[in-house]
């Protein structure tokens, strides 16, 4: 039996709520970049210290996003089919712009999420990030880093490209950074997420991409974070006003917090203030 209209929207709202919770926690975690290398890298190490939990969270989020997209596209298609003949003149009285562009903002956020994972998590768009390590509180770069063998061995040029990477890094990183051979990396060296983020956002194109994506996410949540109360039947006459304000307010905070990271890093770089020690 197919789920009813209300059940479908409940799936959208519950998965949306989960993703919303993740976005808030993710933002708070990332804001630690302003507290310095030590704090952010501690946090990253902490998250990676429990691989089972990390993978459970990743699988949970992946499931949530797949369900969210499948169900929103499903209801969106049904909604269009419910009015095959459009009006010659159609006016909007109360529906917000955000509410009418949910599918667009959603799909753009989805493409951003894919890019974001390729950029910072899988690091295929910027493979040089894989060489960023921290040793005794100082950034080090692995020079003879070899990426794990690719399944398609028919592309040797990709491997060559990765081998060339250290030169690029060595030239753009500050001279204080040691470049040491991979085999001599001491066991207590750990990934330098801090340097990855700061160098990442010094690229104006990357910073701009992240900023635009956060504005789109804000648009999505300004409607979505209020709508979920309605969809789950949680609005009450007494708190209705506050519940409708919740979306825009939460979205504003999320945009502010998330945009501040690329924006401050880029402005600092341009102004040469040196707030970030890479």
């Amino acid at each position: 039996m197919l789920p009813s209209s209300i059940a479908k929207k409940a799936v959208v709202a519950v998965t949306g709520l989960l993703l919303f919770g993740f976005v808030v926690v993710h933002m708070i975690g990332n804001l630690q970049v302003f507290l310095g290398r030590e704090t952010l890298n501690n946090y990253a190490e902490f998250l990676h210290s429990m691989p089972e939990l990390l993978w459970a969270a990743r699988i949970g989020l992946l499931t949530a996003i797949v369900l969210h997209v499948v169900f929103t596209v499903w209801v969106w298609r049904e909604n269009r089919a419910s009015r095959p003949q459009r009006y010659a003149v159609e006016r909007t009285i109360r529906a917000s712009r955000a509410s009418r562009t949910m599918i667009l903002s959603g799909l753009l956020v989805l493409s951003f999420i894919i890019y974001h994972l390729l950029h910072f998590t899988v690091q295929v768009t910027n493979p040089d990030y894989r060489q960023f390590y921290e040793h005794q509180g100082r950034p080090v770069t692995l020079v003879s880093y070899e990426p794990p063998p690719q399944p398609s061995s028919s592309r040797p040029e990709a491997v060559n490209g990765a081998e060339d990477a250290p030169e690029t890094i060595a030239s753009e990183a500050s001279p204080r950074i040691e470049t040491i051979p991979a085999e001599s990396v001491p066991v207590e060296a750990r990934r330098d997420v801090y340097r990855m983020v700061v160098l990442g956002f010094r690229s104006p194109l990357i910073a701009l991409t992240y900023i635009i994506a956060q504005l789109l996410l804000g648009l999505h949540l300004s409607h979505g974070a209020s709508a979920m109360f309605q969809t789950l039947g949680l609005t009450t006459p007494k708190y209705r006003k506050a519940q409708f304000l919740f979306g825009p307010a939460a979205a504003a905070l999320i945009v502010l917090g998330n945009v501040s990271i690329p924006l401050v890093i880029l402005l600092d770089h341009w102004a040469g203030l040196g707030l970030f020690d890479v």
């Binding site: 059940a7 049904e78 006016r91 109360r94 709508a227 789950l232 039947g233 609005t235």
Partner: protein
């Protein structure tokens, strides 16, 4: 005042339709919108043309028969029924586009008339209270809290005109359906069939082909009875509770 009307004309359910332009002359600002259409129809009849078909009955805003989309807004610029809309809301020289409600479950019968029997089937699926008939019961035989009575009454003012469906970007019937669900869920008489009612009415609503709710609030903005979308939240809650408790 003189107006230019663009009226949807369609011979029958499967015939193609189109907007036809007419001039309405010497319209009084005191006329209702339907009286203005009556004037147009008299002129069409005197010219030997087919009058414009539109639904109406009470003409005092209580039966819910009337309803057209006027310049892109269900029931036009005032938040009331089309029969209660007066021509003083327009000014001389205005162009007015008049279309029927547009929704897959509301097929056009002719011109501006649509078939709204989908609403009847939703009500028949559970929008009632089963009682043994007999003489009218004592008015205060079953005590109802004042707050509940007020809220149930607000929901009960729905006249089933269908403007909510017409205005919704998704052609959703959630406001109509939820008004009945919320009304009866508030009252002691509605308790026996409470779970079955919401499950069956929503099932019928979906079967008719209405859209889902995206919380646009467009329905509330055009409802001549100002039914609140709070009813939709109540219906969502009733539905989810009934499904989860395995009714």
């Amino acid at each position: 005042m003189n107006l230019t009307l663009h009226v949807w004309r369609q011979q029958g359910p499967s015939a193609p339709g189109r907007l036809v332009t007419y001039q309405a002359k010497d319209v009084s600002p005191d006329q209702s919108f339907l009286e203005m259409l009556d004037g147009l129809n008299e002129e069409l009849i005197s010219r030997g043309e087919e009058p414009v078909a539109f639904d109406h009955d009470c003409r005092e805003g209580i039966c819910g028969s009337c309803g057209v989309v006027i310049n892109g807004v269900a029931h036009g610029p005032e938040q009331t029924t089309t029969c209660q809309l007066h021509m003083r809301s327009f000014k001389d020289g205005d162009e007015i586009v008049i279309e029927p409600w547009r929704a897959d479950p509301f097929p056009v019968i002719r011109d501006l008339m649509v078939d709204r029997s989908a609403f009847d089937r939703i009500i028949a699926a559970g929008g009632y209270v089963s009682i043994n008939t007999g003489s009218a019961p004592e008015a205060n035989g079953i005590p109802v809290r004042k707050e509940d009575a007020d809220m149930a009454f607000d929901s009960a003012t729905c006249i089933g005109c269908g403007a909510c469906v017409a205005a919704c970007k998704n052609a959703s019937a959630m406001l109509f359906t939820s008004a009945k669900v919320a009304q009866l869920a508030r009252l002691p008489q509605g308790q026996v069939e409470r779970k079955r009612r919401v499950l069956n009415m929503v099932e019928q609503m979906d079967k008719e082909g209405f859209g889902n709710c995206s919380n646009y609030q467009e329905c509330e903005a055009v409802c001549p009875k100002q039914i609140s979308t709070q009813n939709i939240a109540v219906m969502n809650r009733e539905y989810l509770r009934a499904s989860l408790s395995g009714a």
